[in-house]
Symmetry: C2
Subunit: 256 residues, 2 copies
DNA sequence: TTTATTGTTCCGATATATGGAACATCGTAT
DNA sequence: ATACGATGTTCCATATATCGGAACAATAAA
């Protein structure tokens, strides 16, 4: 993995800054990544010249705003996000709970968009964050419907008995065209997810997250229908488009 | 400015990809940035190894999802965004028009967060985008209250008469603690902005944007009050915090 | 004050990026 | 089918940008 190269090192520094909550000092980064101070200094100077990192008032380095524009640009060029956004928002308002969209990118599942619910206690996934395969609703959906789009790491179940149980669960997911996750990933958090498709291809998972306690007081079947309907609508609109990436107007007219 | 360096070249490639709506080919990038094909190839390979760029199905390069995580990380570590977000959302729902937050970063004004209105016709600024100084409500606020936080480029007015007019307008902004922009930047778009402060320091501008036609049918004074109130609330909450960057929980409790 | 740690600059040695050229691949027009 | 142009990819000798130790400056801590 240690193909030493300038760009690789620079991005490693970038990700290190990203992981740290507070700003970092040069020596600190050098120690963490095993790069001499002077090199870190030069890397940061280059990155700062383009706004990818910044120095805060204390002289410590943090990720820069240039990254913001680049990152959000990625979202803007995802047709599925454009299509799903208003649907997620409406569903979140209707149900009062957080809805989000997950899709496989580079073999990993990532949250592409979210619309938070209104509850005092509510799920707040981070856009751009990765979610695990085995213990999430979106993950099960992918394992059941499009495992090839996930990198194979740790997809292998531990024992034979587990393997059978997993395969059984996945078959159920395929039958229902829907996946649940109740407290498996995060205690107290339940999620339902339904597939967004283009033809046979799985493009993403539209998910509804709510506290498990809140789920107990609701009609699970109705939630399933709502999520399925939202996912289906997303699929339809996505397929309705001619699919030449629609550019985004500064003042879009949004017939929702 | 053309201090040739590997990192600089790589980020130039990144920004070039960002600007292009569709994916780019290697030769194309090389021509645009005046870099030989083979170098572009190598740069892209390095960037791709870290997920900063990706190849789409057609083999063309686009910005990668790694940028998404990095970019949104920038937002998450801005306390002012954390604080302003729910306030923006509520204001947008109340008024039915788009609200957004602008702040100076690295001498430039940028949209840090937004909450879109519900109108068929509505403003839809892009988070991360830059806004000009002279012809926007947020820009006027900064020019009047904290010009030192803007890079001085093109802040100088053209003629003496204009200079006086500008100074007069800025004085009014200072008196009202509020700035308007009616059709000055984008025809048909009007914006009111009020300052978010910490002590004397200007931290950002909370703005309300609506079609000028819609503004004509509303009580401008009431909008001013709403925006001022929202900005004041943001300031208060921001000052209420001890201001050690509050980390964000996966399941935050949000007492709004 | 001293001491320790950090940020910054300098510079020779060397590894690394460079870019021209040749090759491979594709799509298009002849 | 063939020729053509453009593109993505690989190779390699050369030049140069990166490396990293060391010395220095600027802090903060003792």
């Amino acid at each position: 993995m240690d193909q030493t190269g300038t760009i690789e090192k620079a991005t490693d520094v970038l990700f290190h800054l990203h992981r740290q909550a507070a700003g970092c000092g040069i020596s600190e980064i050098g120690r963490a990544l095993d790069i001499p101070k002077s090199s870190v200094h030069r890397l940061l100077a280059a990155l700062a010249s383009r706004g990818l990192v910044e120095k805060d008032e204390a002289g410590r380095y943090r990720p820069g705003i240039a990254l913001l524009a680049l990152g959000l640009g990625v979202l803007e060029r995802e047709p599925i996000v454009q299509v799903a956004r208003p649907i997620l928002e409406r569903l979140a308002v209707t149900l009062g709970e957080t809805c989000f969209l997950v899709a496989a990118r580079a073999g990993r599942l990532r949250v592409l968009e979210k619309a938070e619910g209104t509850g005092f206690l509510r799920a707040a996934p981070q856009v751009g964050a990765e979610v695990p395969h085995q213990v999430t609703a979106a993950g099960k959906l992918y394992l059941a419907l499009a495992p090839e789009s996930l990198s194979a790491t740790d997809n292998a179940p531990q024992s034979r008995a587990e393997g059978i149980a997993v395969e059984r669960a996945l078959r159920q997911v395929r039958e229902q065209d829907l996946a649940w996750n109740r407290d498996e990933w995060i205690a107290g958090l339940s999620v339902v997810a339904a597939p967004v498709r283009m033809g046979e291809r799985l493009l993403g998972a539209l998910a509804l997250a709510l506290p498990s306690a809140a789920l107990a007081e609701r009609d699970g079947g109705e939630l399933e229908q709502q999520v399925k309907a939202a996912a289906a609508k997303t699929s339809d609109r996505l397929n309705g488009l001619g699919l030449p990436h629609s550019s985004v107007d500064p003042l879009p007219i949004d017939p929702r």
